[in-house]
């Protein structure tokens, strides 16, 4: 047989980690990306990357607690074995990135410095200024360049993935892609295709994501039969700088380094912030969450900021929603050393120095916890079985998903500084799994017998493309439809969700999808035609948008970032001890019932026209039994007490002993 090859689609952290590891294993790799890989969206990640380290260990931290924080922060919606494997691999990954030359910030003695991030009580986060994602990506980009130079990696930058190539037995044998400059459509035979194509923020119009994050690769794969999981779990980052073209991220590290969120107690107080005294400031996160303060998990910070502006009417400005994120009490030198990159962004785009004047920020769509469904094999120890070919494979054999575009690891809500970790971890971890899968194949997709299949599927895509260019009659403008899609998605499926709005959004989105079929192109040429590529990407936003809305509509509960006030479980509203206990018992009954019903992965499968239908799958919570997420709830102590008694009572297994970790600290 001819040489086997792997095609990695996407050149962010996950994709490049997979490429370099596969190359090290001696496997020939093609790496495809919409942009030169060094310009991938990973560069936007700012704050850092989590792992247990020597210092946190001395304070009682360990990998199990990193696992615990991650699943507790994610509201237990993620399978636990992959998270366990990731948490235990994390220290080694930071060491590796360190060896690759990442300029991590240092302590005076020359050790890597760490900062604290949301959802944990330990300083687990290693960082390189406030451009950690950029620094990590560059280190991997450099390694891949080294392999490219050695001839083991072929780069296809400026290619758009159009579809997987699937044979009669349902196995993926490569992909069809289109060159963004020459518009050539080509078949790429591959014995494994690895999707590392990131999130789908562009479905929301403006978000913190880059322009390449349109979800099209995932959409094109689900339209070919791959399953999509937990689409409704979309993270809205609490702190972003509102902008006309983009909502620019203001990293959680600003709070990790001591940044304080506040609003004037008097609505729309027009005085300069420096003139507003401490007593007249409402530090609402610190007041409501004394244990975590400004570093509560993201979903909670986001809801509180949203609530203080929208429901309590305390936005800093009258005509625009925003709150202060204040760093002005920290010395300039320290700010420049630890947060220079993000302060520079604020200064450049807002024309205001955040070292002198508090920043004005508001939440923005930031991360897709959901994504392509991917498999895993549980090991005897409760982690992943290293090298098992099924790990990270989608339901289509030979098609893998890693990084933000898969659904593992983050459940209902991702903890800050866990995304860079999950991207690099999955990229490195999947490589030996693929190697074993390749060894089990009797042939290569480059063998002549696959020519007909590949040629045929290429021809289908060519016909579609030609038809799109020739389409006449329609008068719809794809850019206008994209704006409308963004507006409806942002309104219905971000911080607060309710069923009426979701139902009507589904109807609007279906209408927009139909209108997209009538888009006429203002460019019908065949050279660097961004108009036609955008229209294709727009068309493919609809299946994922529908999966997000349907998943959100169906999930009648609150879990992580998915918040439906109608199904919120209220806290305890009495001081009477007996009544308190009775209410706590009732609360725990309701919690158990909610988990029976909804502690399940939402799975969307799609018909030929891109319409999703939903089913559900059990979540593996065998390592850490689900427990109530009680950050800030009134009566948290009594609920926690009742819950622990219940667990001790009806769960005598080994796992039961581990309930509670450290992160069950309830703040009220």
């Amino acid at each position: 047989m001819t040489q086997q090859r792997v095609l990695v689609v996407g050149g962010g952290l996950a994709g490049l980690a997979a490429v370099m590891k596969l190359a090290e294993q001696g496997i020939a790799v093609d790496c495809m990306s919409l942009t030169p890989v060094k310009r991938s969206h990973s560069v936007c990640a700012q704050g850092g990357i989590n792992s247990v380290n020597e210092l946190t260990r001395q304070q009682g931290d360990n990998e199990w607690l990193h696992l615990d924080d991650t699943v507790y922060g994610g509201d237990f919606l993620q399978h636990q074995p992959p998270v366990k494997e990731m948490a235990y691999a994390a220290p080694g990954i930071i060491d590796l990135m360190d060896r690759l030359g990442v300029p991590f910030n240092r302590t005076p003695e020359g050790f890597r410095d760490q900062r604290r991030f949301g959802g944990t009580l330990y300083k687990r986060t290693a960082f390189a200024g406030a451009t950690t994602g950029q620094q990590l990506l560059y280190a991997l980009d450099e390694q891949v360049r080294r392999w490219h130079s050695a001839g083991l990696v072929e780069m296809y930058e400026g290619w758009d993935y159009l579809s997987p190539v699937i044979d009669e037995e349902g196995r993926c044998r490569g992909a069809i892609a289109q060159n963004l400059v020459t518009m050539e459509i080509r078949a790429f035979p591959a014995d494994a295709v690895v999707l590392a194509t990131g999130g789908c923020g562009l479905i929301y119009g403006r978000s913190t994501m880059s322009m390449a994050c349109n979800g099209s690769a995932a959409s094109r794969s689900v339209q070919a039969g791959a399953k999509y999981a937990n689409g409704e779990c979309i993270q809205v980052h609490p702190t972003a700088i509102p902008g006309a073209d983009k909502l620019r991220l203001m990293s959680e590290s600003a709070r990790g380094e001591g940044g304080r969120v506040w609003v004037p107690r008097k609505a729309h107080d027009s005085r300069e912030p420096s003139e507003i005294s401490e007593a007249e400031r409402y530090y609402f996160l610190e007041e409501r969450y004394p244990a975590y303060g400004n570093l509560v998990p993201r979903d909670i910070a986001t809801r509180e900021i949203f609530n203080v502006c929208v429901n309590e009417g305390l936005s800093v400005e009258a005509d625009r929603q925003c709150v202060y994120l204040d760093l002005t009490h920290i010395s300039r030198a320290e700010l420049d050393r630890k947060l220079g990159g993000i302060l520079h962004i604020y200064e450049k785009f807002q024309g205001v120095d955040p070292r002198e004047v508090p920043m004005k920020i508001f939440p923005a769509v930031h991360y897709s916890m959901g994504g392509l469904w991917a498999d895993y094999v549980r090991s005897a120890e409760g982690g992943l079985e290293p090298g098992a070919p099924q790990n990270h494979q989608t339901n289509i054999p030979g098609l893998y998903a890693i990084g933000e575009c898969d659904y593992q690891y983050h459940g209902g809500n991702r903890l800050g500084a866990n995304s860079l970790l999950s991207c690099i971890f999955t990229g490195l971890f999947v490589a030996p799994c693929i190697e074993n899968m390749l060894a089990s194949l009797p042939d290569s997709a480059h063998d002549e017998k696959y020519n007909t299949l590949l040629r045929g599927q290429r021809a289908v895509k060519q016909l579609e493309h030609d038809a799109l260019l020739k389409r006449t009659g329609g008068r719809e403008n794809p850019y206008v439809i994209h704006q409308e899609l963004g507006d409806v998605m942002t309104k219905a499926a971000t911080v607060v969700r309710n069923n009426d709005q979701l139902t009507s959004a589904l109807a609007t989105v279906a209408e927009l999808a139909e209108r997209t079929a009538n888009c006429s192109l203002s460019d019908t040429g065949n050279w660097t035609n961004q108009n036609v590529m955008f229209t294709k990407a727009l068309r493919d936003m609809f299946p994922i948008a529908k999966a997000i809305l349907q998943g959100a509509l169906a999930r009648d509960e609150c879990r992580g970032a998915h918040y439906k006030p109608e199904f919120e479980m209220p806290g305890i509203d009495t001081d009477d001890p007996a009544e308190k206990r009775r209410q706590a018992e009732k609360w725990c009954d309701a919690f158990e019932e909610k988990n029976r019903k909804w502690l399940k992965t939402t799975i969307a499968t799609f018909d030929k026209s891109g319409e999703p239908s939903l089913s559900y799958e059990e979540v593996d919570t065998s390592l850490i039994p689900p427990r109530p997420r009680l950050y800030g709830l009134v009566g948290a102590e009594i609920i926690e007490e009742v819950w622990k008694q219940r667990q001790a009572g009806h769960d005598g297994s080994a796992n039961g002993a581990k309930v509670g970790g450290t992160s069950a600290v309830a703040a009220s």
Partner: protein, 283 residues
């Protein structure tokens, strides 16, 4: 508070002149668009409006302008172009500031030192090729577990980190008088791969530019990278190496990340001289 100054004097609309080009080797042509003024626009949102309007000042329907972009927050380096004649990122070029420099209109052109692909899109592969020439990486043994990397003093980290913020955007070489455009035409009988190979060998004979020279210092400063410093210095001493630098110092003044490029070049000059001498004595 630059963005909010002179709000009252802002025009109700302004003109955007864009130098368009249909493909490599094609002639350029100016196209004019009228854009309604809004506060806090940047050049990216102007280009988005141009795409949505799809009509020129003369009322003619036109194709959307092609341009490169990704992150929109000045960390990816994609959207570099000449805005009012100055090389910079379109995303951080704020219209309010531009109109203060030049009331009522703004001008967009593609970078001049790289082959134009279409309109404002240029081919900057030469810059990535330069990184390969100077072996801009840490040649680790492998990706297995070998414990942490070398300890590093805060001072060293604070020298390396700014160099590592280089996003290969191309501003430094666009402004450099010694960096001449290299543009080859694709032969009709040539495959994409053959053409790319011919381009690469042409790039390898031409000036590396400030960005790549600065990257050699980033890796030579690292304790592991230092073990291969000689190979990088050899590359700097080859054709199109550091001797091509004319010390105009334009690079450092246009770098959006204020990377001390001229300091890197001076250090690289000293290191290559010492390297040359030690090679001569080692013979």
């Amino acid at each position: 508070m630059i963005a909010h100054a002179n709000q009252s004097s802002k025009p109700s609309s302004f003109e955007v002149r864009i130098l368009r080009q249909d493909g490599p080797g094609q002639p350029g042509r100016w196209e004019r668009h009228q854009i309604t003024y809004e506060p806090n626009l940047n050049v990216i949102s102007v280009l988005q409006k141009v795409a949505t309007q799809a009509t020129t000042v003369d009322g003619k329907t036109t194709t959307p302008v092609a341009w490169d972009c990704n992150c929109l927050e000045e960390v990816c380096g994609a959207c570099t172009m000449l805005v009012n004649g100055r090389t910079r990122q379109a995303c951080s070029a704020l219209v309010d500031q531009l109109l203060e420099e030049n009331p009522n209109s703004l001008e967009l052109r593609p970078m001049s030192k790289f082959p134009v692909v279409r309109d404002l899109v240029v081919d900057r592969n030469r810059m990535f090729r330069a990184l390969e020439r100077v072996k801009a990486w840490i040649p680790v043994d492998g990706y297995g577990d070998r414990g942490p990397g070398p300890r590093e003093a805060q001072d060293t980290q604070q020298v390396r980190y700014p160099l590592s913020e280089c996003m290969t955007c191309g501003c430094c070489v666009e402004a450099c008088p010694q960096f001449a455009k290299v543009e080859l035409a694709k032969h009709s009988d040539e495959s994409d791969e053959e053409f790319a190979e011919r381009q690469a060998s042409a790039y390898d004979q031409s000036f590396l530019g400030a960005a790549a020279i600065s990257q050699t210092m980033l890796f030579n400063d690292h304790p592991t990278g230092h073990m291969n410093a000689g190979e990088r210095l050899d590359a700097l001493m080859g054709a199109g190496g550091i001797q091509a630098c004319g010390n105009a110092q334009n690079c450092v003044s246009v770098c959006p990340k204020t990377i001390p490029l001229t300091t890197s070049i001076a250090r690289a000059g000293r290191q290559t001289t010492l390297h040359l001498i030690s090679k001569w004595f080692d013979r």
